[in-house]
């Protein structure tokens, strides 16, 4: 929610030289993405004669993005604009953790365990979570998913942990 103290000095430097830090940094990151794409597609074949090679279009778009990113950064440098919005860590961290946990454990642990555990991890992402309530809703949701996806919709999905079945 609030700025972490470590961000403060960076911000002041930005504020001194850059009038619109939000666009400035945004443009720089776009340029970095473009450079990365140029590097990643450097091994691909370019134009041969008048026909496109595999690498032509990616490089074309990457150069375009490089120029646009530069322009956005330049605008941020010269024009007054908003500061970089504060990031929070709690929501992104726990939501990502829940997603990664789901991906890692859906195959070995099955839908029932995975869905419930991911629900609880995601619930950590908000300060307002009440645990009893979250557990009940999580359990109901897991039951619903366990009935809906494999049975009603017929999607192939492991239900229970592998070691229990064997």
């Amino acid at each position: 929610m609030s700025d972490t103290p470590s961000e403060a000095p960076v911000k002041s430097i930005l504020q001194k030289w850059v009038r619109g830090p939000q666009d400035f940094v945004g443009g720089l990151v776009m340029m970095a993405v473009a450079l990365f794409a140029l590097w990643a597609s450097s091994d691909l074949q370019g134009m041969h004669g008048f026909s496109f090679g595999a690498g032509t279009a990616p490089r074309m778009f990457a150069v375009l993005l490089l120029l646009l990113g530069g322009a956005v950064a330049l605008m941020g440098l010269l024009n007054d604009g908003p500061h970089i919005a504060a990031y929070s860590w709690r929501g992104p961290l726990f939501v990502s953790a829940a997603i990664v946990f789901f991906a890692v454990s859906i195959r070995p642990l099955g839908l029932v365990v995975t869905a419930f555990a991911s629900f609880m991890i995601a619930a950590l992402g908000s300060e307002e979570t009440k645990w009893l309530e979250a557990t009940i809703v999580g359990a109901c949701l897991t039951l619903g998913c366990a009935l809906l996806f494999p049975y009603v919709l017929g999607l192939p999905m492991p239900m229970f942990p592998r070691f229990l079945i064997q």
């Binding site: 666009d23 496109f52 595999a54 709690r90 789901f102 991911s118 995601a122 908000s126 809703v137 192939p156």
Partner: protein, 504 residues
């Protein structure tokens, strides 16, 4: 008349019990999604794509279409009753709609929104049926150069009409184009930017990116704002749904204007329901005798944008069905749904899949009728649903999204990728980059590359082919003109002013 024969055929398809059921489910789910803030149409359609695997293609597309226009209805309900627009399309409806509700006129506001939407839906259905065949013929005259130019025009439209910086919107489109390059090259089969990761060999899944950028990123952003969003519920009982005679007289012309404007903006690539509702509200305010009434419960302010967004939601199927070009992100997902079922969108769909096209068109009219019948009595339930706190809703959405992505390919990597794109989307929001153009660029990327390559191959490497073919030159000229207009300072100022006002 061929038209009537086609429509009759469509109704025969759409009225089969299974398709009626699909239509009803789609409309209900759409309304639900529209009502709940924090989960959008794009994420829902992406989430439900795998569910449609087991369905016949016609039923699947009827359901997905239902979700799309159903959401336009649902969004207006919450805008009016609780001042929370469930969808971006109904942001402007909240301005006057909620004021009407506070004055105890929630009933008429809801009824006018429903009537306007229904009228717009009827007109748009006829429009699709009428314009479909001629546009398909036009499409057959299109060569690769024209297709490329048309897509450029579409992307420029998306830029001009998007809010915020033109430069940043273009950057987002190019970013999307670049993302679409990941995976195998169509012609040479060379692996591009895939880093030998087998899951990337087929390219980034469109649903995966959409779910990340629109689903997960939205959730993370909402958590930022604090889950306890203030909910200014209208408590008194909703009595008297029927609008008075004066209400009807006042809103009838507004509904017609909104429908016309929405239909036009929907057809144009890059347009869409959000822009249509903003434009319609602005128009009403401009031509009103007493503009000060707006924002204080003017019924025209509800009637016109609601008609416009529904008309646009439906007419945006026209470029998809006739040219195979998705005009917005939801339509891009529909392309994904069609591809899953082995249907290649484009001019040949109309001829080869008459069941699908006409069935879907007819189902839109039926769906609109269902919405007007089921929604007014259900208003109470929707309002109660809004009381479900976000702290319980968001983990559920996370789980549904994760299961949805996983089941597309049964690939855990897809889930991780979507999570990563969620963080990318969060960063984009923080830096005021709009994710919608990115998605549009990503969808059009492969099509653009293919047509660009083909056009240059045919012209033997001569780039002037885009200007020497008249149709292509006209399309590019329009695109250039629009871009100049958008950058001109006076117009920009006005455009920004429109958005600022409407957001207030």
């Amino acid at each position: 008349m061929e038209l009537f024969a086609n429509l009759a055929h469509g109704f025969a398809v759409a009225l089969s019990p299974i398709n009626l059921l699909m239509c009803l489910i789609g409309a209900l789910v759409g309304t639900l999604v529209g009502v709940l803030p924090g989960i959008g149409t794009i994420a829902t359609v992406a989430m439900l794509l795998p569910i449609t695997f087991g369905l016949p293609p016609v039923g699947a597309l009827i359901m997905l279409a239902g979700i799309y226009y159903g959401a336009q209805y649902g969004g207006s309900t919450t805008s009016i009753l609780v001042n929370i627009p469930g969808e971006a399309t109904s942001v402007v409806t909240a301005l006057d709609g909620h004021q009407m509700a506070r004055q105890g006129r929630a009933g008429p506001a809801l009824a006018i929104a429903a009537i306007g939407s229904f009228f717009a839906g009827c007109v748009a259905t006829v429009l699709i049926a009428v314009l479909g065949a001629p546009l398909t013929k036009l499409a057959l005259a299109f060569g690769p150069a024209e297709y490329f130019s048309l897509m450029v025009l579409g992307l420029i439209f998306a830029v001009v009409l998007a809010k915020g910086s033109v430069l940043k919107a273009i950057a987002m489109i190019v970013f999307g184009l670049l993302l679409s390059m990941v995976g195998s090259d169509i012609e040479t089969g060379a692996s591009r930017m895939a880093f030998n990761i087998p899951e990337l060999a087929d390219g980034l899944g469109f649903a995966t990116v959409a779910m990340g950028v629109f689903g997960f990123a939205e959730i993370i952003r909402n958590l930022d704002a604090g889950a306890g969003m203030s909910r200014d519920l209208v408590q008194q009982k909703i009595t008297g749904l029927m609008p008075t005679r004066k209400d009807l007289m006042d809103s009838a012309p507004a509904i017609v204007r909104g429908t016309i404007l929405g239909s036009i903006l929907g057809i144009l690539p890059g347009g869409g329901a959000v822009i249509a509702s903003f434009a319609a509200y602005t128009l009403e305010k401009k031509i009103a005798k007493d503009p000060s009434r707006f924002g204080r419960g003017a019924i025209e302010g509800v009637a016109s944008p609601e008609s416009a967004n529904n008309a646009a939601a439906q007419t945006s199927f026209i470029p998809l069905l006739t040219l195979g070009i998705p005009p917005n992100a939801v339509m891009a997902l529909m392309v994904g749904a069609m591809t899953i079922h082995g249907i290649v969108p484009g001019p040949q769909v109309m001829v080869k899949q008459p069941d699908l096209v006409w069935g879907m068109i007819a189902s839109m009219w039926i769906g609109n009728l269902m919405l007007i019948i089921i929604n007014l009595p259900l208003v109470g339930i929707w309002v109660r649903l809004l009381r479900v706190p976000y702290r319980l809703m968001f983990p559920s959405i996370v789980i549904f999204c994760a299961i949805g992505i996983y089941s597309v390919n049964n690939a855990p990597v897809d889930v991780v990728l979507a999570g990563a794109f969620g963080l990318v989307g969060y960063w984009l929001i923080k830096h005021d980059f709009e994710p919608a153009p990115l998605l549009l660029g990503m969808v059009l990327g492969p099509l653009m590359e293919e047509n660009l390559r083909r056009a240059l191959l045919i012209s033997r490497g001569d780039w002037s082919v885009f200007l020497s073919r008249p149709l292509s030159a006209v399309l590019l000229a329009i695109a250039a003109g629009l871009l100049v207009l958008a950058v001109l300072p006076t117009l920009r100022a006005k455009r920004d002013e429109v958005f600022v006002e409407s957001e207030g």
